[in-house]
Amino acid sequence: MAAPMALRRELFSLARKISGVSHLTPRALGACSSHRKCNIIRSHLPLASSTSFHTATLFLSTPSSITVTEEPDTLFQKVSLLVKGHDRAVLDSYEFFATMAAKELGININKVHELPKDMERFTLLKSVHIFKNHRVQYEMRTHYRCIELSHITGCTAQVYLEYIQRNLPEGVAMEVTKTAMEKVPDHILEPMWEDHPIDDKSSQ
């Protein structure tokens, strides 16, 4: 009983030794591929449209239909993007991407500056029980980047912001503050009390 089992074990070990080298690389790749799959699943959800968008540029087949409506476009006097992240290098790269995209689309950039980083620190006890004199300190660093754009129309802003936000890297958050401009509406141009008597309290 034991002998044939031993033989089989030896055969298998021999086979493994022979194909030992080939075992190494697939193993490493196997470890990486599981990572890759998770990442792909994660990144598919926000970037679904960009993948289809990329294939559109590659195929260059159907021209996308652009609808033009009569509705007047909103005008933004100032659009300010504040990008926050834990890694300064990632924010550097993102800033390069955002500024280049703005230049390509013809959006004028007012100012690109870096706000000082925030560090949130806290001190905890190192041990589970007693030892109050031995503590451990953690900190969380938040780096900022501010990009200010001026004089953008609503359509351009929508296109640019969607492009930027779809390509926002993992672990980075963004706040967009838009200042739209509007005309004084018609019902505020003239007071209505001049035509009607004061005791007509019906407001528009």
């Binding site: 089992m5 075992h23 490493a28 470890a31 990442n39 559109a56 006097q77 980075v172 528009q204």
Partner: protein, 333 residues
Amino acid sequence: MASHTSKAFLSLGRINVSGLGLQKSVSRVTYATDLSIRSSNVNKGLPDRGDRGFFRRPRRTAGEPRTEKMPVDQDWTAVYPAATPFRPSSVPLPVRMGYPVKGGVPPEKKGNLELIKIPNFLHLTPAAIKKHCEALKPFCTEWPSALDTDAKCDEHFPIKVGSTDYVSAGLSVRNPSARIVDLKVKLSSLNLDDHARKKMLKLVGERYCKDTDVLTITTDSCPLRQQNHDYAMYLLTVLYHESWKTEAWEADKTVADMEEYSWEDSPSQRNILDMLVRMKVAGDREGEEVREQLLGRKEVQEYKDSVTRLKNEGESESTMLQYKEAVKKVLNL
């Protein structure tokens, strides 16, 4: 039998042992490439892995990496069209990342977890950005060329509506702070007369900034941004029309309610006129017409200007000097 049970234990504990093996290798500060060697050693110690459970088909040998076959002038946007983690066999760069081994260099890109962990921008090279923007250009519109300066924008579009969008990763895409809308308008651009302006300032109170003449209405009571925007416009409309109305009780406005100091019928006027009459500047006469005549004098007018300026603008070098000159002239000092 003992061998069977021992084999069973080995197979059951297969995962645990390999797990322990992995942990041991990590604590010894080796990298993923070394890990694969260790795990294959562990396998050699458990030969029954092949005949129990699943049959391991012999693996194909991996061919040479794609980087060897890449031409220099290839289309990189085809290699990395979308955001994907780092693939060492697809990136023809000799990148090294990680803490250097003692007396050595950072580990190479093959099997390097550090390179996979960080977000990469390989799909956003300048060529790719140019391609994307070329495709996006038809959807953009031009800014009207007549509105190049801020002054022109303020003249034609005085109302400014500000709102904030938030993008972050989390359990929910929504952010409740995104509903806040603030409306800023300069009162000089609205059609208001003197009384309407004063009433408007009294109605809004804190929301008006005197230095910049900007009225700010911040609304966050409605759950949606569109609703908050409509509410802010409604508030502006109501304020405007209410400030033009004159109610019956506004006639009871006392001197304490006045926003600005006015010299007519003030103690200062009475005092100066009494003093001038007592000094007998206009001769030995009494009565209303004397006071009116005194009022019409140039020095008295100057005094009036200096006092109003002092009260309204506060004390400063120029106002005090002006007051001093006016007093000297009126009292012939």
